[in-house]
């Protein structure tokens, strides 16, 4: 096996090398990273924890796709703060200090019938492998791609490849239809029978998608992006309340029945370090 061949020669540090970088917009990049073991064992829905450098924090990122032949995994990263910015700045040939995974539970995939995939912003990246898997399982897949503005719509081409239909929505109407992700989802529900909805994006967006599909009784899965530290069930930083019970997103999730998730609590918890981070980010500048 690839990994062991290098390991025997003690050249293990060649792992986690960025072999390809693509810039989607000034805030979003795609990185192909050499990580053969993870590439081999990962499934749709899995994520990795990434620590960029010596002082880096451990942040969770979904594995958007992988190439087992080349031994690479693909991450799509949106620059929202200090750690994601560091990652976005790296170039081909650079090495990421630590990458561990695949983590979390894989997405439950079956032929549900008609599936609506509702993603907002960088939620598109983690959605890609799910769209692909749903399509391959025989579902009719309708994807709603939403973002604030045209430049933030990413991976459209890749999503189209596995979707029967793609509805693009922008808040400002600069591309596709003008409106929110929920407008797109509601349009589909009013038009045809939807058997399952999968939603990934900012917590507020998932909350509203969930409220909407609850109204129409459409079973919905949300992939939660809580704050994490270890990503292996060791700390509880990622906990959320689902159906009145505390769950750890990194081991019990990241996907849960959206109608059971306490989104308001999750949104509050996501802001836990906002003030500290804002201060730090100022310091960094």
């Amino acid at each position: 096996m690839y990994f062991w061949a290098h390991f025997q020669q003690n050249t293990i540090d060649i792992m986690n090398k960025i072999v390809k970088k693509e810039v989607f917009s000034d805030k979003v990049v795609r990185l192909d990273i050499e990580a053969p073991l993870i590439a081999k064992s990962r499934k749709a829905g899995h994520f990795v924890m990434v620590k960029v450098d010596e002082h880096g924090e451990r942040i969770p990122l979904t594995i958007a796709s992988s190439d087992t032949e080349k031994g690479t995994i693909t991450l799509v990263v949106q620059n929202v703060g200090r750690s994601s910015a560091k990652l976005c700045k790296l170039n081909e040939g650079d090495v990421i200090e630590h990458v561990v995974g695949p983590l979390g539970k894989a997405t439950h995939i079956e032929n549900f019938g008609t599936a609506v995939c509702a993603c907002g912003g960088v939620g598109t990246a983690p959605m890609l492998p799910i769209v692909e898997a749903l399509k391959k399982a025989g579902n009719k897949v309708i994807t709603v791609l939403a973002a604030r503005t045209k430049d933030l719509i990413i991976l459209e081409e890749q999503i189209r490849q596995y979707s029967d239909e793609v509805i693009v929505m922008t808040d400002d109407g600069s591309y596709g239809k003008k409106g929110l992700v929920t407008n797109g989802v509601e349009e589909i529900i009013n038009r045809e029978k939807v058997d399952i909805c999968v939603t990934i994006g900012p917590a507020v967006m998932m909350k509203f998608v969930s409220l909407l599909t609850k109204k129409y009784n459409v079973p919905t899965v949300a992939s939660l992006n809580t704050i994490m530290v270890d990503g292996t069930g060791m700390c509880g930083a990622c906990r959320v309340t689902v159906g009145g019970q505390t769950k750890f997103v990194c081991v019990d999730g990241p996907e849960f029945d959206a109608h059971q998730v306490d989104f308001d609590q999750m949104i509050a918890r996501l802001g836990a370090y906002k003030d500290i981070e804002a201060e730090d980010n100022c310091k960094a500048i």
Binding site: H98, D230, M234, T246, V251, A272
Partner: protein
């Protein structure tokens, strides 16, 4: 190899001072940093013994023919053997004696609950005197060796080429790795985190166990040929089947008990209510208090720690060091029942930690942003002894108190992480998710051995190490029989 009690030098040494005079000597006091000074930094509190102090303390040991202290040590360290070497000034030899049984003497000398183990069984105690300071001496010998730069790299048998995989780089995994390497096995340790050391790194703070001490021990293992693969979560990144396909013949699961327990009371998911694991991991492993680090940590001003164990003491003292005005232990029993080491409780008190014993949290109250601002405490009193033999705390009806807090750290125990056990088909586990093993630490699957906290639930460093050693012997016996 045990030191020979009848060796001429030792016979002679015994005769230099009468046993009665030895027992009459006062126990040395280890220098500690001033509480006010140390409660603002992460410098190690205990300063260690000087050579002079150590040799003096070593004189107190009467070199018993039947050393009862050894029965109190879970790994039966040759206690008089190493102490007498200190007394005669052969410090490196003392370290060597320790190394025969313990892979991490510098660690155990610091963190073992000696007062209930070796020192509790010392003959001095039976005579109503203070025990020989076995822990302090152990630390002295190990530190001396490390600082001398003459670390003894144990001689390893010629390589037998048999691959053994160890899962988890805590004390159990490290000690098993050391013993197997000595026997000539090709050992690889797989660790989920980005650093090696387990709780010694992410849990126990610098002021009690500096990281460099663990790093040096790990370096010795590397020199012995042990390979470490970090960022590898066994059961996820690779499975045992993958590793078997790569030629691994046997495994030692030492994945610890890393899953934090919560109480499931209202408000527990508010912001700034966190597990001790999260808090200590942020501060110790991620170095979050250092402005250079990208990982944030909240500097609480009124911090309550729930629990009375070592983890609670480490958390409360850490909070103090990160600038808390009030840092409080909230514990539902009384101080007598606290499982934390006496020394930790003493140090915490000296540093200004408040102890709210016989109090139990029942609810956390948040502000408009969802951050904890108060906690409601139920006052307790002691009732009849329970199954653990400790008097059971019972609620005093209506006695409820509300106090202001801006951070709460929950340190009420840990459970085994199910990732490894649940990835091994057919592995027998208990209802507490610990792995079932026989006396040689072998599980229901013959090639899988296990030890440390994954078998015992939360236990101690020395018990984990003892398990690692026993498993190494078990693995060796098993693999040799198969040949």
């Amino acid at each position: 190899m045990s030191e020979d009690r009848n060796a001429p030098w030792r016979d002679e040494l015994r005769k230099t001072i009468k046993a009665k005079d030895r027992t009459a000597l006062e126990r040395v006091h280890m220098n500690e940093l001033d509480p006010e000074y140390r409660s603002h930094n992460k410098e190690e509190v205990n300063q260690g013994l000087t050579a002079e102090q150590a040799m003096k303390e070593a004189q107190r040991c009467i070199d018993c023919a039947n050393p009862t202290c050894m029965q109190g040590c879970p790994v039966s360290i040759d206690i008089p053997g190493f102490i007498k070497n200190i007394e005669r000034g052969e410090f490196l030899q003392a370290a060597k004696v320790l190394k025969n049984t313990s892979a991490l003497p510098a660690v155990c000398g610091r963190v073992c609950p000696q007062e209930v183990q070796c020192e509790a069984q010392c003959i001095h105690v039976k005579m109503g005197k203070q025990a020989v300071a076995i822990g302090h001496l152990e630390r002295f010998a190990a530190d001396y060796e490390r600082e001398s730069g003459k670390m003894d790299i144990p001689v390893c048998a010629p390589s037998n080429g048999i691959k053994v995989g160890i899962i988890g780089a805590g004390p159990a995994g490290l000690s098993c790795a050391g013993d197997l390497a000595k026997l000539g096995y090709d050992v690889t340790v797989f660790e989920a985190l980005h650093e090696v050391g387990g709780v010694l790194k992410y849990g126990i703070p610098e002021f009690r166990l500096p990281n460099v001490i663990v790093d040096v021990e790990v370096e010795v293992l590397r020199k012995m040929g042990v390979k470490f693969i970090t960022d590898c979560l066994v059961g996820k990144t690779v499975t045992l089947e993958d590793l078997q396909a790569e030629g691994f013949k046997c495994f030692f699961v030492a994945s610890g008990a890393g899953l934090p327990n919560f109480m499931n009371i209202p408000g527990e998911n508010l912001i700034n209510v966190l597990s001790s694991n999260e808090y200590l991991t942020r501060v110790n492993l991620m170095d979050a208090a250092n402005p250079e680090s990208d990982t944030p940590v909240f500097f609480g001003k009124n911090v309550a720690i729930i629990g009375g164990g070592n983890t609670a003491m480490d958390s409360v003292r850490t909070a103090k060091r990160l600038g808390a005005k009030r840092s409080m232990i909230v514990y539902r029993r009384s101080e007598q029942e606290m499982p934390a080491r006496l020394e930790e409780v003493k140090h915490a008190k000296e540093e200004g930690v408040e102890f709210m014993t016989l109090h139990n949290p029942i609810e956390y109250i948040g502000d408009e942003k969802g951050r904890v601002k108060q906690m409601r405490l139920q006052k307790m009193e002691l009732g009849e002894p329970d199954a653990s033999g400790r008097r059971k705390p019972v609620e005093i009806p209506g006695a409820i108190e509300t106090i202001d807090v801006d951070m709460v750290i929950v340190a009420i125990g840990v459970s085994p992480n199910p990732i490894v056990p649940s990835s091994i088909k057919g592995l027998e586990i208990t209802k507490w998710h610990t792995i079932v093993v026989n006396e040689s630490m072998q599980s229901s699957i013959p090639v899988v051995f296990a030890g440390g906290d994954i078998v015992r639930g939360g236990a101690t460093v020395i018990l984990a190490m003892g398990d690692g050693r026993r498993a190494a012997a078990g693995i060796d016996a098993y693999l040799q029989n198969k040949k």
